[in-house]
Symmetry: C2
Subunit: 369 residues, 2 copies
């Protein structure tokens, strides 16, 4: 994420090697910004096509899970040099995508790409450059810190991990206290997601540098306290995670960081399954949180919220390729009931991290105002 | 590292599946503690054997880089279910090992194992239980925090990443200031190594809980500032990294953390190539560091150190399977020259992280006394 090794990429060789490519595919491929240091593949071009190159001289079949044209993904073709290569059938959506490689029937990661925890496994990741990527780029601004904490959890009998983002200036303004956003990942992800593929710390650093937000702390922990398999999500019982979050993590954070530890200055947000958790916990604990945000994670109805005066903001978002109408109409109904409700639709994106990066960028300036 | 999913392991099925195993191999295999959540393989037994199981139904050859009996590693055998299985020919050394899987001529990671940055790539990792592992286990004690910082670096034109360990109590004892150890990784690793495979934070937490150390801060950053390939290490020029460390990182740390920012309270240590860097920088900058430690990373001669009165400690270590005599005789020569020099040999380990975990455990109580 931080190092950008210089790669000399020869356009000449690439056009020879990939002579089979679609005539409309621009040959301006560059290594994905999420490659492992020094790795030339996977690559992306200015149109959003992705190109893969995998060494497996004796394999019979190599397929990339990512790509258009059905669930088969992208089939790679073997060259005389033992490398399998191939390009997606069309441009990918802007932003971050998880993927994996199927080699002769087994699922592996691309040795060229960095790994990101998703789908209950560390997956390969690729970054398609986005027209609006400046808001989550690493820029020459003051940076906050991301701390790994291990907090005691009696309910689960172990020390649990969380990450805490403290804003630029936290270490210098030693008497300032800050509001806190508790921010949850989605199903199959973990507490690493928001500051890795989500770039939450860089989004906050950039917003701070532009003076667009009131600085706050973000806390991210693992939300799958009880193990639930996909497809059995109805068996999920929020009480386990609610205990960890409200009775164990919040007291630890309030005693170890300079927080403003009241309801007015505490928010909760989550993406996808993390949105479901956010909805359940905020409704169960109206005296703990005042700002609620569901990112591709469902909606609130006005009748869900008993004491509307306690809620300072409801933020609902999703990608335009999800169900934007449901999000918009839910926000409208909340507004009609007198609430401060905001909806945001990420244009051209689906149930993926680009939607959630943009959602955080829209949400942050609205918090704790 | 933190979650320990419950795995039901059937000894019955395992003894059927692995009937080809050596009669002397105990069938008490359990998932490695470094597996991805919910993954049953790789496994390790109480003797230190490692067992692998990889799905690749149509592959012709699957080989694990780890194992005894030459550089071929461990060849896996295909079963009727499409899984390839195999056990190392003998017990492995205690502690952490990097490895990868060769599938039909290509190098991939084991989908069951977590990944660790080594050899200039994210490698699979496996943990062989050690008789002395309590000192680096996650225990129910007060835990320090590990912070990711992004510090400005004019010399390299970017923000660079470092991790900062602050000891338990740092957030509560708001007026206490702490000494600092700058701790470097080895060739092909990065700034994640010491708190991931190295478990430096847990080692420090446990030492603190036992009252064995004077609390201090540890700072870890990336040491390969100029790109150098293995085999061309003689082209390495320390001045690039020295500038980042001494002129950029140290001032950032001293202005953002409650450090005691003088030579007496600043140490540098490094493993392998990080030891080489430590030696060069400490000798170049005698007014910056007072405690020097080389872990499997070379030695100092008495004549290397011009003003011996400025050096409070020289710590030299390696594994018993490396060159312990060189380390011992170098420490003896330094002692003879009137210096506070200590040598430590890690019994039964080689040029691997178990040597360096133990070395940190031995070094920490000697620092800043």
């Amino acid at each position: 994420m931080i190092r950008y090794p210089l790669i000399v990429f020869s356009l000449f060789f690439s056009s020879v090697l990939f002579a089979q490519s679609d005539q409309n595919v621009k040959e301006d491929f560059k290594p994905s910004s999420l490659n492992q240091p020094g790795q030339e593949y996977p690559q992306v071009n200015s149109q959003g096509y992705a190109r893969f190159k995998i060494l497996a001289p004796a394999a019979d079949s190599v397929r990339v899970s990512l790509g258009l044209g059905g669930k088969g993904g992208t089939k790679l073709t073997k060259g005389n040099d033992g490398f399998w290569t191939g390009t997606t059938a069309g441009p990918m959506d802007e932003g971050f995508h998880y993927y994996n490689i199927n080699i002769d029937g087994g699922k592996f990661n691309d040795p060229g790409a960095l790994n990101f925890y998703g789908s209950v496994r560390w997956e390969s990741g690729i970054e398609i450059p986005a027209h609006d990527q400046a808001f989550y780029e690493l820029r020459d601004v003051q940076h906050g810190h991301v701390q790994q904490i291990l907090f005691p959890s009696k309910s689960t009998g172990t020390s649990r991990r969380a990450f805490v983002y403290t804003p630029p200036g936290y270490d210098k303004n030693k008497s300032t206290r800050y509001p806190v956003l508790y921010l949850q990942h989605g199903w199959g992800e973990d507490e690493t997601a928001w500051t890795s593929q989500g770039r939450a710390n860089l989004i906050m650093d950039n917003l701070t540098a532009e003076g667009k937000i009131k600085p706050f702390i973000i806390v991210m922990t693992y939300g799958m306290t009880n193990e639930v398999k996909w497809g059995r999500i109805h068996e999920f019982d929020i009480k386990h995670f609610q205990t960890v979050l409200v009775d164990e993590l919040i007291p630890y954070v309030d005693s170890h960081f300079r927080t403003i530890s009241d309801q007015r200055n505490r928010a909760m947000a989550g993406l996808s399954m993390g949105g479901m958790e956010t909805k359940l916990i905020t409704l169960n604990k109206p005296d703990v949180f005042s700002h609620y945000a569901l990112l591709s994670g469902g909606t609130y109805k006005p009748e869900d919220i008993v004491d509307k005066s306690k809620v300072k903001l409801v933020f609902l978002s999703c990608g335009s390729k999800e169900r934007p109408d449901g999000v918009k109409s839910a926000a409208a109904a909340l507004q009609k009931a007198g609430m401060n409700a905001v909806s945001y639709i990420s244009e051209g994106t689906a149930h993926e991290f680009q939607t959630w990066r943009r959602s955080l960028y829209q949400l942050a300036p609205l918090l704790f105002k």
